[in-house]
Symmetry: C2
Subunit: 148 residues, 2 copies
DNA sequence: TTGGGTACTTACCAAAAGGTGCATACTTGT
DNA sequence: ACAAGTATGCACCTTTTGGTAAGTACCCAA
């Protein structure tokens, strides 16, 4: 009846032990994962981290063209947030046709590294994921499965 | 001038090599990370994956109470999506006061494992992240730094 | 002078995501 | 009989997020 389930369960195995480390109950975040996701969530942020991690200091225009489909407003916005979050560093060369570039801070680099397993997971299971997404496209949004 | 930057850069170091593996240009996703994030993004999804990974088969009500602050509508919704995406398995015992529980599929378990580095990152850098978020709360939303 | 490129900003909008509250169908406890 | 618990569904609304289009200040090439 009580909401604390102090009983341990028969979960996966080692996976469980690993996940355990993501201990909840912390400052403003429920857990480390929560903190991380708040910082990387944004439609283009991972991609930005991506390109900058690969290309090193990248000019605004380069990012803009590279990411394609992103609008100025949003790209700038996300860059500002990443900067505010201490993940990227903005360098303004104060030149007269403006010149600015963005690079990863050490914090940003460490995040980029932490993202690698997710990239890998996504890559490895891309087939399954996209298959599922294809089906999902059928019922566009809510909960209408082709089950019945 | 051309939008393809075939030139390689002087980026971080090993981090770069690692991130390289997140090769873009794939089916519907820009890269593995993209695929992954589409599947885990949802305000409570990581937390759900969390609890279920730790506790094994978890009843709806348990999750509801454990996650706290989530509404029925959204929790159900996210569970459905996770199920549709093949990450969790819903088991309906067809009993009369309804009994249902959710567990991770192998796919879900592998994702949970891939999330571990992010948890770790978040935990390790929580201080920096929350400090930044605290300041951000000052200018509530747009781009007004206390710089000037 | 017109046009293009640089790096943004701003006002206005549409869509997505999340939240609230009520309803259901049935059982158990009081 | 009535409240409470079980796992949802549904209508409606607010917040968040992303997008569009236009503007700014300045330079260079045609």
């Amino acid at each position: 009846m009580s909401s604390d389930r102090s009983d341990l369960i028969s979960a996966p195995a080692q996976a469980q032990a690993d996940v355990q480390r993501c201990t909840p109950n912390l400052p403003g975040f429920t857990c480390g994962l929560d903190a991380t996701l708040r910082v990387v969530s944004g439609k283009w942020k991972p991609l930005i981290l991506y390109f900058v991690a690969q290309d090193g200091p990248t000019r605004y225009g380069e990012l803009r063209r590279a990411i394609r489909d992103v609008s100025d407003k949003v790209l700038i916005q996300q860059l500002k947030e990443l900067e505010a979050d201490g993940l990227v560093k903005r360098t303004d060369y104060k030149e007269v046709p403006p010149r600015v570039d963005y690079s990863l801070t050490p914090l940003g680099q460490s995040l980029a590294e932490a993202l690698v397993p997710l990239c890998t997971w996504g890559t490895e299971h891309m087939a399954e994921v996209s298959r599922v997404f294809a089906e999902r496209a059928t019922w566009t949004r809510p909960g209408r499965q082709p089950t019945g």
